[in-house]
Each structure stands twice: as structure tokens, then as C-alpha cells.
């Protein structure tokens, strides 16, 4: 016999007139290898078909299922219930707009971020269908892959003090995204170009450096290092622009 679990879920559906935020307890029996993916689906399919949450890959690859589990932002699909006490809470991620219950709108937030950070390769070269690829050191490719692994789950954002009070702050995921392009030799932007995009309080200078985001990342991206790199680069770019007499905000 497994433990009896009591999962205390945040409930609120903004689309139902008169609905009010509340916590609702569900009881179910734990079994070997149970993840929160299994547990929440069991609740929905057997106890309460209205419960809203998001899963896609159920393999910690797609970033859909982040929520506050027992107070901490985590991916629900890879959280084993055995690592939790027999009674625990699940809440939607803060910062992001609530869709209903445990489901939040990370999609819109991240899209807005990609567009604002112009997070794509900027190059003046034209693609030639008949030419070989431009050579690159394997080491460089691996270095780019590291920050590229971000799955946009929002765990780091949820735990960030700045993001919780400043709605336009791009968060460590955003700064990490910029880092990914900064170190990519195919991107022809200068440091000053990047400075235009993130050399401000909603970008790298909004970060207060307390690293509440650092060990939140399920992909174990070294956020601390990457943030420091961007901040150094941008500080230097800012200084340079100042010396050149460019007025900066």
C-alpha cells in the first residue's frame, strides 16, 4: 500500500462568472514511481474533470508544466511524489497571466521576450543554397548549445524578485537568451546593438544579482555565469558609448 497523498490545489477559473480563488484538497493513493504528471491526471480523470493544468512532453523537455510545488517552482512532470511530504500544495507560477487553476500563459510572455530582444541571428550575408556551410569549431557549437537548452519553463522568472515587481523585466531566461546570440559568431550585431536592446532597467541592469534564479533551472543552465558575462559586456559597451558622447538612457 502506498501513502495517502493530500494534494492541495489552487483553484480559480477567471472565465466562470463569480468564481473565487481558493485551495481545494484532493486525496489519492500514491504508487511506485508516481510523478505529479500522473497524480494530476488521475485527479482530473477520476475526481474532478474541471481541473486545469498543462502537460505536453511529460519528459522535462518542453517546459509546459512548471508550477509552484510545495512552494518551489518546478516542472511537475519530473517531480516524483515520493520526494514530497504526504500533504503538499500546488499553485500556478506567479508573474505569468493566469489562465485557470494551475495553467498560466507562459507562451505570450516568452514570445514577447523573443521579439523585444530580437532573439534571432542578425546577419547581412545572404543564404546560398549551393554553398557549403561556414565552418565553426565544434567547441563553439557546444558553447552555444549550453544556453540554447533553455526550455522557457519560467521557473527562474517565477522566483525572481525583479520580475515579480517589474512586468517588463526580461528575467534571467531573457538575459541568457541574449548571451546565446552574443557568443554566436554568426550573429553580426555589435555590443552597442545589444546594448540598445538590453542595456536598461528592463534588461540586464534590472537584475539585482541576488541569484534567486540560479538553482531554479531544471536544465541546469549556469545562469549566474551567463548573466555575469552579459552584464560585464553591457557595462563595457555602456562606458564606450558614453566616451563616444552617445546619450544613453
Amino acid at each position: 500500500m502506498g501513502r495517502k497523498l493530500t494534494i492541495s490545489c489552487f483553484r480559480f477559473n477567471p472565465n466562470i462568472p463569480g468564481d473565487k480563488p481558493r485551495m481545494q484538497d484532493y486525496e489519492l493513493e500514491e504508487y511506485e514511481g508516481m510523478t505529479l504528471f500522473v497524480a494530476l491526471n488521475d485527479i482530473r480523470e477520476k475526481l474532478d474533470p474541471t481541473l486545469m493544468f498543462d502537460f505536453v512532453c511529460r519528459a522535462a523537455i518542453c517546459g509546459s508544466c512548471a508550477m509552484l510545488i510545495h512552494g518551489r517552482p518546478r516542472l511537475a512532470c519530473k517531480t516524483m511524489t515520493r520526494t514530497l511530504p504526504s500533504k503538499f500544495t500546488v499553485m500556478p507560477l506567479p508573474v505569468f497571466k493566469l489562465i485557470g487553476d494551475l495553467s498560466v500563459d507562459t507562451g505570450t510572455w516568452f514570445r514577447d521576450l523573443q521579439v523585444r530582444a530580437e532573439a534571432w541571428i542578425h546577419t547581412n550575408k545572404k543564404f546560398d543554397f549551393n554553398a557549403l556551410e561556414v565552418r565553426m569549431e565544434n567547441e563553439t557549437a557546444e558553447k552555444i548549445y549550453d544556453p540554447e537548452q533553455c526550455i522557457e519553463c519560467g521557473c527562474c522568472v517565477a522566483n525572481c524578485i525583479t520580475a515579480n515587481i517589474r512586468p517588463d523585466f526580461i528575467g534571467s531566461t531573457g538575459i541568457n537568451r541574449v548571451y546565446r546570440f552574443l557568443i554566436d559568431p554568426r550573429d553580426e550585431r555589435s555590443d552597442a546593438d545589444y546594448y540598445d536592446v538590453i542595456g536598461n532597467e528592463d534588461g540586464t541592469f534590472g537584475c539585482v544579482g541576488l541569484m534567486a534564479c540560479d538553482d531554479m533551472c531544471p536544465k541546469e543552465i549556469p545562469l549566474q555565469e551567463n548573466l555575469a558575462y552579459v552584464r560585464r559586456k553591457m557595462a563595457a559597451a555602456g562606458l564606450k558609448l558614453k566616451f563616444q558622447g552617445v546619450k544613453i538612457s
Binding site: R58, A59, W120
Partner: protein
């Protein structure tokens, strides 16, 4: 229907995975106005889960020397067991190298060739020369003559989807995520768009366009156990089938991947075996060389999966705490800690997260698991869907027919972007020459029909059957009767069970209020279409009395080119409880049917 819920564009793209987004880029670049809809934000599409890589004959790595589109073509046709469309395969193999390079240009951090002598865990020794250093490298994969699987560590799908999506962002193509297409709008001749349900608030929306592209991915979730994401329910194919005039091609061709990891059946990439991993039985014996002396663990997926089940049936399966059914072991310990945690990091993490196993020092439980839908919405080589003008399909949702009866590992990601490019161009060309007048009365009719369905589900007018129970019963029926080894008798039972479930699916009623973005309502709306899709698979399998690629009939174990060099076309007529099956010939203009070089037809000594 209020006007605010109606969206008009030149091109409507249903889906935001790789195939869909790549085709959207092609259309937007031609100056067309494009809208994308998707169940989930693009970067959460199932394409991001692909680990292994993409096949393209770049011939940079030493073990790929001398590779060419012709050799890639031959591997693809043999892999398909001569079931594919050879013209499509040829065009694909010739185009895919430039697609890989374009992805590189857009920012995919492909792993590169490093010069020097190398000894692989598989015992192979090679030397990569200086002249190739820095070019895109490749790894080995099942069923191929040359190493041509290009990769980024083991997150290939992730990096490719993210990079393709950067181009969608750059072009400013609007993406309406959490928007599910639930019916196509058509007049029996032309498709005008779709009715969609907003998964944020439950409201219905109408999308009207000159061209509609379906890129909704696979239908793996009609099986209870699948490596597919939970959103892969085949709804794109189901809404096309529901028109009555569009056929699904070769639905019986379902791929089972040799290495799904129980208990949740997450995929362990083929890259693990490509990099030199072994399969072991309960006696720690490496059994694949007994069955397949030449290709060993790297015969094509259908063959390895069957050999594994055969070996388990012969009494060599493992019983362990990881699974309620017997399984086998994947052994990658000998690749070394550094290799495992660097080149196979994704699966190392998955094994650790979900089973507490460190594959650098422990064995990983594996079992053949539903993985890929070779069949799909039947199109011609331009991606134009049979039966309706202005409707196109691409990627796993389509039967362009690159894969025939078995897809080669690494050919699917490659297909998504290549089809998106080739067919996307054709969509653009078609759309530029079109004008449309939308008959709003007809459009309203389609909306009313969906409103009616929803109303009836909520009120329980047709019954109170439970959507989740029907889904589970369907998944189990597919596991029990339409799996790796098939027989006429068992398939008949499967079809009968599914017909019964289909009737019940028409009597579903909600057990909740159905208000707002209610998830039970979403499932209930999908169920009849999912059971219809499952019936296309089961009935197609029953009627195909031969074995070809992944479709293996124990009662008809041989490929039959005289009677079955055909493609199944399944239609659903209104009011029916079984699909109508037609067949079209499969031409082999370039490579005539022959021996695959692996598998039962060219079997080596039987297993011990």
C-alpha cells in the same frame, strides 16, 4: 458568432511544429499574410522532443565519406520496404542537405567535425581529416549505409524548432496558441479554413483563408503506451477525415521504437545504439547479433522491435520493478561516463529523473513502444491534399509518402523542414493565384454544428459516456490487437471493440459544467475523431494480408509485391462505423522491389 472571433488571412497554418512553421516561413516570405494556430506555444510542440538528429548526406564525417543523395535514397526506399513514393524520396534526399545548411545559417549549433583519429565504443576506428574540420558532422543511425545523422548533442529537435521559430518571430507571423482546430470548413470541393476552440476561454473562432495547411503531427496517443507527447492525438487527420472526401493514407503503418523506457515510455534515442549501445536480455546476453549478424542493434526499427518481442516471447525477457510487462536492457555503460553525460545527456537525465538510473553505470529498461505515424492525410508531391482544393498537409500528419511502411530514424525531422520548404513554396504559388468569396451562410452552418455538439455534450443529450474511459479503452484495444505482431483473428476482435467504442463515443456527456476552457470538453470533442482514426489503423491492418515494413502479419509473414504494392486510402462516409478502404498503386520507377539486407527476409541464424 461575433465578428471579433473571425480571422481572415491568405494562408492558415494549423499547427506550429517544425513542418507547419517551416511552411509558414515560405508563405510569409512570398509576401502572403499568414496566421498560425496551435494547441501550444510553438516551442512546446512535439518536435522539440526529438533527440537523435536529422538525416542528410553531407558526407563530412569520415564514416560518411562518399555519401550522396542516391545512397540516402536507397536507404530510405529499403527502409520503407518499397512502400514509399520514390519521386518524393528522391526530391527529399536531394534537397535536405541545403535545408541543414540553411538551418545552420539561421543559427542551429550543429556539432562539427574535429580532425584526428577516433576510436568509437562500437570498436570502429576512423580518422577525420583536417580538410573537413569545422563542417557539420553526423552520427550513425539504424538502417543506413553511411553516417549522415546531423545532430546538436541530443537536443536536435529542440534547437531546430527554436531556430525555425526565431524566423517566425522575425517575420512577425502571428501565432494564436491555445487554439484548437475542431472542424474544417469546406463545400465538398474546396477548403475555406476551420472552426477552432480557444483553449483559454472556450470560445469558438472562425479562420478563413485561401489556403489551409495542416501540420498537426502524429497520432501516437491512440495507443495507451506511446513515446509521443500527450497532445499527439491526431486531431488534424481526424478533422480532415471527417470531411468525408479526404482520405488518410497507410494508417496501418505504425512505427514502434525499440527503446521506450517504462513505466512512462519516454524515448531513449536511437543515438544511444548509434553511438555503440547494446541490447541485453535477462542473462545479460547481447542477443541482436544472433538475429541480425550484419546490422545488429542497428537494423531498421521495425526489425529490431520485432526481434526484441520475439526474444521476450522466447523466454528471455526481464522481469523487474520498472514495468508490469517484461522488458529488455539498454546498455551504454561501456561508452564511458564522459560520452554518456555529454553526447547522450538528455537520455541520461531522463533515466535519472524518471527511474533513478545513472546509465553510465547502470542498465536502462527498454521495450518497443508506439513511436511514429507513417500514414496520414494523403497528399500529392506538392503537399496538396487529395479530395479538397486549397488544403495542404505536411510533416507527421501527412502521408506525402516519404516513409512507406517504415520510417528511417532521422528522416522525420528532416522531412518536416524539407516538406515545409518544398510544399510551402507550392502553397504560396497556389495562393497567389487565388481569390475567394466566403459564403458566410455555409460558414455559419459549420459553426452551428460545433455549437450544437458542445451543447449536447454539456446537456448529456446523447448520453453520459465518460470521455476518459473511452480513450483508455481505445488505447488498450490498440495495444492488445494492433501492435507489433498482428494476426487476422486478433485484428478482427480489435476492430469489433473499436466499433463498439465508436458508438459509445457518440454518446459522450460531460461530468462537469463544460464552462470556459474546460479540459473535459476538449477531450470529449476529440474522442469520436480519435476512435475513427484508430479504426483506420486497425481495419487497414486487418485488410492488408501481407507483411511490409512495420506492418507484420504473423498469418501472412511475407511481403507480397504482386497484390500489395499499394497504398491504403481510408475514407469515412457520413453515418458509417467503419472506414471505406480504397487502394492506389505504389510505383517503383527508380529502385525496383528487392531485398532490404536485414530483417526476416534476409535472416541470419535464428536466435538461441
Amino acid at each position: 458568432m461575433s465578428a471579433k472571433n473571425t480571422h481572415i488571412s491568405d494562408v492558415l497554418v494549423i499547427g506550429a511544429g517544425l513542418a507547419a512553421e517551416r511552411s509558414a516561413i515560405e508563405c510569409a516570405s512570398a509576401g502572403l499574410n499568414v496566421i498560425i494556430l496551435s494547441l501550444v506555444p510553438p516551442r512546446r510542440s512535439h518536435s522539440t522532443a526529438a533527440q537523435g538528429g536529422m538525416q542528410a548526406s553531407l558526407a563530412n564525417v569520415a564514416m560518411g565519406k562518399g555519401d550522396s543523395p542516391e545512397i540516402h535514397f536507397a536507404d530510405t526506399v529499403k527502409g520503407s520496404d518499397w512502400g514509399c513514393d520514390q519521386e518524393v524520396a528522391k526530391m527529399f534526399c536531394e534537397t535536405v542537405p541545403s535545408m541543414i545548411r540553411q538551418l545552420d545559417y539561421w543559427g542551429v549549433p550543429w556539432n562539427r567535425v574535429t580532425a584526428g583519429k577516433k576510436k568509437y565504443a562500437s570498436g570502429i576506428e576512423t580518422e577525420d581529416t583536417k580538410d573537413k574540420e569545422g563542417l557539420i558532422t553526423a552520427r550513425d543511425f539504424g538502417g543506413v549505409a553511411k553516417w549522415r545523422c546531423c545532430y546538436t548533442s541530443d537536443g536536435t529537435g529542440h534547437t531546430v524548432q527554436f531556430v525555425v521559430d526565431t524566423q517566425v518571430c522575425k517575420l512577425g507571423i502571428p501565432v494564436h496558441d491555445r487554439m484548437e482546430a475542431i472542424a474544417l470548413i469546406h463545400d465538398g470541393e474546396t477548403c475555406f479554413g476551420c472552426v477552432a476552440r480557444n483553449l483559454r476561454n472556450g470560445e469558438l473562432n472562425v479562420y478563413l483563408a485561401k489556403s489551409t495547411i495542416i501540420g498537426t503531427g502524429g497520432a501516437g496517443r491512440i495507443y495507451a503506451a506511446s513515446t509521443n507527447a500527450v497532445i499527439n492525438e491526431g486531431t488534424g487527420g481526424a478533422i480532415a477525415l471527417a470531411t468525408g472526401v479526404v482520405p488518410l493514407g497507410n494508417m496501418e503503418a505504425i512505427q514502434f521504437h525499440p527503446t521506450g523506457m517504462p513505466p512512462v515510455y519516454i524515448l531513449m534515442t536511437e543515438g544511444a545504439r548509434g553511438d555503440g549501445g547494446y541490447l541485453l536480455d535477462k542473462n545479460m546476453h547481447r542477443f541482436m547479433p544472433d538475429y541480425e549478424p550484419k546490422k545488429k542493434e542497428l537494423a531498421s526499427r521495425d526489425v529490431v522491435s520485432r526481434r526484441m518481442v520475439q526474444h521476450i516471447r522466447a523466454g528471455y525477457g526481464v522481469t523487474s520493478k520498472y514495468s508490469t510487462q517484461q522488458h529488455l536492457w539498454l546498455d551504454i555503460r561501456h561508452l564511458g561516463r564522459q560520452w554518456v553525460w555529454k553526447n547522450l545527456r538528455e537520455i541520461a537525465t531522463i533515466a535519472t529523473n524518471f527511474n533513478g538510473i545513472d546509465p553510465a553505470k547502470e542498465l536502462v529498461p527498454v521495450i518497443p513502444t508506439q513511436h511514429y505515424t507513417m500514414g496520414g492525410i494523403r497528399t500529392n508531391k506538392d503537399g496538396a491534399v487529395y479530395g479538397l482544393q486549397g488544403l495542404f498537409a505536411m510533416g507527421e500528419a501527412a502521408c506525402w509518402d516519404l516513409h512507406g511502411f517504415n520510417r528511417l530514424g532521422g528522416n522525420s525531422l528532416a522531412e518536416t523542414v524539407t516538406a515545409g520548404f518544398i510544399c510551402g513554396k507550392q502553397v504560396a504559388k497556389y495562393t497567389l493565384g487565388q481569390t475567394r468569396n466566403f459564403n458566410m451562410k455555409m460558414v455559419d452552418g459549420f459553426v452551428k454544428k460545433e455549437e450544437e455538439r458542445i451543447k449536447n455534450l454539456i446537456s448529456g443529450k446523447n448520453g453520459r459516456e465518460n470521455a476518459y474511459e473511452i480513450r483508455d479503452a481505445m488505447g488498450t484495444a490498440m495495444m492488445d490487437h494492433v501492435h507489433i505482431f498482428r494476426t487476422g483473428k486478433s485484428l478482427e476482435q480489435g476492430v469489433a471493440k473499436l466499433q463498439e467504442l465508436y458508438k459509445r463515443s457518440l454518446k459522450i456527456g460531460l461530468h462537469s459544467s463544460g464552462q470556459g476552457a474546460n479540459p473535459e470538453l476538449a477531450q470529449a470533442l476529440r474522442m469520436p475523431g480519435m476512435v475513427r482514426t484508430a479504426l483506420c489503423v486497425a481495419y487497414g491492418a486487418l485488410m492488408r494480408t501481407e507483411s511490409r515494413g512495420s506492418h507484420f502479419r504473423e498469418d501472412y509473414p511475407k511481403r507480397d509485391d504482386v497484390n500489395w504494392l499499394t497504398r491504403t486510402l481510408a475514407y469515412w462516409k457520413e453515418g458509417a462505423d467503419l472506414p471505406t478502404l480504397n487502394y492506389e498503386p505504389v510505383a517503383c520507377p527508380i529502385l525496383p522491389p528487392g531485398d532490404r539486407g536485414y530483417g526476416e527476409a534476409s535472416a541470419g541464424p535464428k536466435g538461441k
